[in-house]
């Protein structure tokens, strides 16, 4: 079953001769509980596509359907709630709150939604990501890999419909990249999460069940597998 359906989506920035066609007619379906890697050169529209799926951008044309809901019919307030409940974001630069402990950072999205944490699920996530002993520490006390693991746990804690990871290992060396991407894949599989990851690293793309290649804002058809 498809969790994300993108139909003939275009996203242009600016107007007139200086207009940038970031996404230029992309149609794509992403299956539930699968790991999809989006690869492409910088400027190919990877991040724009991810932001369209996450409801951060509104498409210039076309429809984006996530978990059965057409995002263009939602109001700004509804979109905020959609992002909070249905999407888990993992960014390259972690975006952790420095004043909060690792535990508080992980539970932060639930606090925003005034929801109770599922304690059992929380314990499973921190165990799987090797954060069990670090819960009362602050982000600056952890390595880059540890901080990204915290961001992964934070993305998973709300049990979202889809986890979007934008170059999650972009700032790491080869070894940490493999470690963190491996853990991201493993936790997504263990907890039946749909994972969409942007990467420019061909070796990491091999971890995915499916690779979508973007070029000049379009999907390269033959390379999908």
């Amino acid at each position: 079953m498809d969790i994300v359906t993108i139909h003939n989506v275009k996203k242009y920035f600016g107007k007139g001769p200086r207009q940038v066609r970031a996404i230029d007619g992309v149609s794509l379906s992403i299956e539930k509980s699968r790991f999809t890697a989006i690869v492409g050169a910088s400027g190919s529209g990877k991040t724009t596509l991810l932001n369209l799926i996450g409801g951060l951008y509104e498409p210039t044309e076309g429809t984006v359907i996530v978990d059965g809901i057409n995002l263009s019919v939602l109001t700004e307030e509804q979109l905020t709630i959609f992002r909070r409940r249905k999407v888990g974001f993992v960014f390259q630069d972690y975006n952790l709150v420095p004043e909060l402990t690792i535990r508080e950072n992980i539970l932060f999205p639930l606090a925003l939604d005034d929801s109770c944490p599922d304690q059992m699920f929380f314990a499973q996530i921190v165990e799987a990501l090797g954060l069990k002993e670090q819960l009362e520490r602050f982000p600056y006390m952890l390595s880059g890999g540890g901080q990204q693991c915290t961001a992964i746990a934070r993305a998973l804690i709300t049990k979202p419909s889809v986890v979007l990871a934008d170059e999650p290992t972009g700032s790491f060396d080869a070894r940490t990249s493999q470690n963190v991407a491996g853990l991201l894949k493993m936790t997504a599989e263990t907890f039946h999460q749909t994972l969409i990851m942007i990467t420019h690293n061909q070796e990491l793309a091999q971890l995915a069940d499916r690779v979508v290649r973007l070029q000049d804002g379009r999907v390269v058809p033959s390379a999908t597998s």
Binding site: M1, Q178, Q206
Partner: protein
């Protein structure tokens, strides 16, 4: 039943509490009235205070009524949602992205329903996988069986020289061996596909597991004069299933031996990392084109250029399945004509 009785007792207690509070409020107002009569002479002040005293319980009563109504609305919506989901239809009044309690509960219920549906879909998919398996197996078994039948017929119906007879029997024996190997692989594959294999995860030295895998391909490598070097500390401990991991590594090594020309070399390097232990198996073989990186792990995939080599195309598929079940993964990088490196990543503390 006991639960029900407890419930009704509780309800009685709540309903008895209503008149109790009313009596208490009336008594409180009467006392207030007496006190006011004695200490506050102007009558209008007495009336205002009395009215306020009367208004407070009134407001409390209204507030409680409103709360009850909200609770009953929430319960009704939840019941309606469950009813709709039981009938396999979208619930009415479903507002998924509202900042309200109802929407939150509805969202969770739908998520639960979705999970259940997913299980149903999974079992349907499993059925399809089994069907595909059966068709794949019959397809694979067909050729050797047909060959054996053909040679049996020839042997039965024709007068052949002793030499020819021996040659045909040898060909038949080779086909039977192939069939045997195929059956072994198919049994492993079906156990992997249907999830009926049990992993015995133990924290053990990886060194012995690698040694076991290398041992089983040593003979073949020696015949082709291929050198195998292993770089692994004996104290590298990883939580893994020894038997199945050795099988996975053996399959990768067997593949390396098969596609490395005579006089080549294979190097196994083990590096323990923070979360994963990386095992690189690098050969000086014919290599794999980048567009086939995903294909080589598919069931029964055989590259056209290696069709002359013996094999059924299950080794790497099994290796990946075994490693994935242990929460590890496998990647490949290759330079056609120069060699291939398979990198196996095993989770250090996998449970």
């Amino acid at each position: 039943m006991k639960k029900l009785t407890n419930c009704s007792e509780q309800n009685c207690r709540y309903s008895r509490r209503g008149p109790d509070i009313l009596l208490f409020v009336i008594a409180f107002l009467l006392i207030l009235l007496c006190v006011l009569w004695d200490y506050i002479p102007p009558s209008w002040i007495r009336i205002v205070i009395l009215a306020c005293g009367g208004a407070v319980p009134g407001l409390v009563f209204l507030w409680r009524q409103r709360q009850r109504r909200q609770q009953s609305d929430l319960a009704n919506t939840v019941c309606e949602t469950i009813d709709a989901l039981m009938d396999d239809r979208e619930p009415e009044n479903y507002h998924p992205y509202e900042d309200s309690q109802v929407s939150k509960v509805q969202g969770k219920l739908l998520q639960y329903y979705d999970r259940m549906q997913e299980g149903r879909r999974q079992s349907e998919q499993d059925k399809q996988t089994i069907q595909e398996l059966v068709s794949d197996i019959s397809h694979q078994v067909k050729t050797p069986v047909a060959n054996i039948q053909m040679f049996t017929n020839i042997l039965q119906q024709h007068q052949l020289s002793e030499e020819k007879r021996a040659e045909f029997l040898a060909t038949m024996a080779a086909q039977i061996n192939k069939l045997d190997f195929l059956m072994q692989s198919l049994i492993k594959m079906s156990r992997l596909e249907t999830g009926t294999f049990t992993l015995h995860m133990e924290s053990q030295s990886l060194y012995h597991t690698i040694a076991q895998a290398v041992n089983s391909v040593w003979g073949k490598a020696d015949l082709k004069n291929i050198q195998i070097d292993v770089e692994c500390d004996s104290d590298t401990i990883v939580r893994h299933d020894i038997k199945w991991t050795a099988e996975a590594l053996e399959n990768i090594l067997d593949n390396a031996v098969k596609y490395t020309p005579e006089g080549g070399s294979i190097r196994v390097t083990v590096r323990p990392w923070q979360f994963y232990t990386r095992i690189d198996i690098a050969d000086t073989g014919i290599g794999i084109a980048a567009e086939h990186y995903n294909d080589i792990f598919k069931r029964f995939y055989r590259a056209q250029e290696v069709s002359a080599e013996e094999g059924v195309g299950l080794g790497l598929y099994l290796a990946r399945g075994i490693l994935t079940r242990q929460k590890g993964y496998i990647t490949v990088s290759s330079e056609p004509g120069t060699g291939t490196t398979f990198s196996v990543f095993m989770l250090n503390y996998s449970s």
